[in-house]
């Protein structure tokens, strides 16, 4: 991405910034040690407690003072148990999904914010899966409170959490078609006429980039 300036003027003098509805995936690089703060301690402790660290963890990202561990989905439950028991991340604050339709083969992301009450620390786990194989092992057996959060992420993104005790829709009606928070699911809405002018539906309005 080579945007410059807040209004995105590039090359021409056109500062309108109008770029149509183009949405690109966020860039993702990985961080090098030292990570700073308690992040090095977390990484060291995890490496000590979990010998398979290097194969299970794809990337470690430190951005804006937050640590993200990108974990292979096959190892997610193992890592979660170690984080809970050895590193004292007693609480999982749920799961949030993100859909990147342009990241072919890595379209769906599940994000788990973890909280350690003992050490007063926060980290984040990320698991990426392909849309064609949207299965992630459930963490309900590790943190029971993830039950509804996983149901919500299934409802909104269609990620299937294997091993969940009852993976059904939670916010949308049971017979609903589609998963509303995915980027390929239209927002809907109709144009509104006001004093002779027509205001388009929100998803047909200009997007500035």
């Amino acid at each position: 991405m080579s945007d410059s300036g807040m209004f995105g003027a590039r090359g021409t003098g056109d500062t309108s910034g109008y770029g149509g509805l183009v949405r690109t995936a966020a860039s993702a690089g990985s961080s090098e040690r030292p990570f700073g703060g308690y992040f090095d301690d977390v990484a060291d402790d995890l490496e000590r407690a979990y010998p398979e660290f290097s194969t299970a963890i794809e990337r470690v990202v430190v951005d804006r003072g937050e640590l993200t561990l990108h974990i292979k989905r096959e190892k997610l439950v193992e890592v979660a148990k170690i984080l809970r028991d050895s590193l004292k991340f007693e609480m999982c604050m749920g799961v949030s999904g993100v859909h990147y339709p342009n990241n072919v083969g890595r379209e769906l992301v599940a994000v788990y914010p973890l909280l350690s009450i003992t050490n007063n620390r926060r980290i984040r786990l990320e698991v990426t899966v392909a849309d064609s194989d949207a299965h992630i092992p459930s963490l309900v057996e590790v943190w029971a409170g993830n039950n509804w959060h996983e149901r919500e992420t299934f409802d909104m993104f269609g990620i299937i959490f294997d091993g969940h005790p009852g993976l059904t829709r939670i916010l949308m009606p049971d017979d609903w078609q589609g998963h509303p928070q995915r980027k390929d699911y239209a927002l809907g809405g109709i144009p509104v006429e006001y004093k002779g002018a027509t205001v388009p539906a929100p998803d047909n309005r200009r997007s500035y980039k």
């Binding site: 991405m1 945007d3 807040m6 209004f7 995105g8 500062t15 910034g17 949405r23 690109t24 995936a25 966020a26 860039s27 951005d63 804006r64 003072g65 937050e66 993200t68 007693e90 609480m91 999982c92 604050m93 749920g94 949030s96 999904g97 993100v98 859909h99 994000v111 914010p113 909280l115 009450i117 007063n120 926060r122 984040r124 943190w143 029971a144 409170g145 993830n146 039950n147 509804w148 959060h149 919500e152 909104m156 829709r169 939670i170 916010l171 949308m172 009606p173 509303p180 928070q181 927002l187 929100p202 998803d203 309005r205 997007s207 500035y208 980039k209």
Partner: protein
């Protein structure tokens, strides 16, 4: 053998007889149910039930009056706020988030704005006066929210007078909100980079007066409920959830503190300068509805203490800015009260229309396009009246959020209903749910 009842027609299914109760004669219904051999009865409570704290549906399996299983049905208030926000610019998002947990609008806005500020990297550039106003508004909001929790909780357990007192106090806070932001609820007052506008003239003495009044008024509910033998019988030992249960269920807020753990994000992970205020974290060790009730009652006084300290700070910061200095982020509006209600101040109109083309361009650009937020993701959490309210925000570098997710404490904590109520009496579910204090607008978003 079935008696025909126009208010409760029945039909046979493979699961047993299903009665559709529409009101009317309960005696004949009870007689009819009693005539079946079935011990186990499944009852649908809500979503339109006066005691379920909003549009919450509880599916209860009963044996007599004992609850054997509880399941919550939610989603009746789902409005797609997270999806909608992906199609509005960052500033417009505040008007959406404020409508999620409608009893705690300021908390929603603050969590959202703190997340955006973290993404922008301007957390330390937010003016001190703006942070102090945010703290004061959050604490006022905590009082108004706790008042609804206490008032409706008591009402649902059959006590009507506490609700009158609670709503009297809530009214004082809502009047302050109206004076400060122009709106009683859903204010969209906290904005990325600061607050929408400074306090109006004469606000500080009025808030001081209100604080004194509330401190006096709170005693009414205290005398009415604390130690009241009926209240004790309905709340003590009810809705039990211990620390291990709360931890694995991710429970935060008053419900977690009722297990004796002094976990309050305002103390342990301060934001908006909470580290500069003196206040106590209130806990109880009874793990029951009464403990949660006492925590909320005592948190009121702590909130008043914080508000008084905030007012002292505001007096020293008179005239200081309430929005970041960066003109590419700060909303350009200079609002003033006009003859036709709130609008842009005449001075501002004069400047952008008469003297400064650049100001006009800035105003136009920021209002139509909004500002850009660098790509990345953050999680920002605040201690709302109900627990940890977290905002997970993903930006793709554009003028709109790529993905917004709120970790709502009501949504998470409502999962504890089963653990708190199963094995108890049906009447105690009401107390247990009320002590979680779920707000369905926040649960369903």
């Amino acid at each position: 053998m079935t008696i025909s009842d126009p208010y409760a027609p029945s039909r046979e299914t493979t699961e047993g007889t299903v009665f559709s109760v529409t009101g009317g004669d309960w005696d004949s219904l009870v007689q009819e149910i009693g005539s079946t051999k079935e011990e186990r009865v499944v009852v649908n409570m809500g979503p339109q039930h006066p005691s379920t704290h909003g549009v919450l549906r509880l599916v209860l399996e009963l044996e007599g009056e004992t609850v054997t299983e509880v399941r919550c049905g939610i989603g009746y208030l789902h409005t797609g706020i997270e999806k909608n926000m992906e199609f509005r610019n960052w500033t417009q998002g505040t008007t959406f988030v404020t409508r999620m947990d409608y009893l705690g609008p300021i908390f929603n806005e603050t969590a959202y704005c703190l997340a955006i500020e973290k993404l922008l990297g301007i957390t330390n550039d937010v003016p001190e006066r703006a942070s102090v106003i945010r703290v004061m508004m959050m604490e006022l909001n905590r009082i108004s929210s706790h008042m609804v929790a206490l008032g409706t909780g008591a009402l649902e357990l059959g006590a009507i007078t506490p609700m009158f007192f609670a709503f009297r106090e809530r009214e004082i806070v809502l009047d302050l909100f109206e004076m400060i932001s122009g709106l009683r609820m859903n204010m969209a007052y906290i904005r990325p980079g600061g607050v929408q506008q400074d306090l109006p003239d004469g606000a500080i003495p009025k808030i001081r007066e209100a604080v004194a009044q509330m401190r006096k008024n709170f005693k009414d509910n205290t005398t009415l409920l604390v130690g009241n033998s009926i209240w004790l019988k309905r709340t003590q030992g009810i809705g039990y959830l211990d620390l291990a249960g709360a931890t694995t269920l991710g429970i935060t807020g008053p419900v977690l503190r009722s297990t004796g753990l002094p976990w309050d994000l305002r103390k342990v992970q301060p934001y908006c300068g909470y580290e500069n205020y003196n206040f106590d974290v209130i806990t109880a060790d009874t793990c029951d509805v009464y403990g949660r009730f006492l925590i909320r009652m005592n948190e009121l006084e702590q909130s008043l203490r914080i508000i008084e300290q905030a007012l002292d700070k505001l007096e020293k910061l008179q005239g200081a800015p309430v929005m970041v200095a960066d003109k590419k982020i700060a909303w350009p509006a200079q609002l003033a009260l006009g003859g036709d209600g709130l609008g842009n101040s005449l001075n501002h109109i004069r400047e952008i229309m008469g003297t400064s083309m650049e100001s006009l361009i800035h105003h136009f650009k920021l209002v139509t396009e909004g500002f850009k937020v660098p790509a990345g993701q953050v999680y920002a959490a605040v201690e709302s009246a109900r627990g940890e309210l977290g905002a997970h925000v993903v930006s793709d570098g554009g003028t709109r959020p790529y993905r917004m997710h709120f970790r709502e404490p009501s949504f998470n904590n409502l999962q504890a209903t089963s653990a708190m109520s199963e094995g108890g009496m049906i009447a105690d579910i009401i107390g247990a749910v009320a002590s979680i204090d779920p707000v369905m607008g926040g649960v369903d978003r």
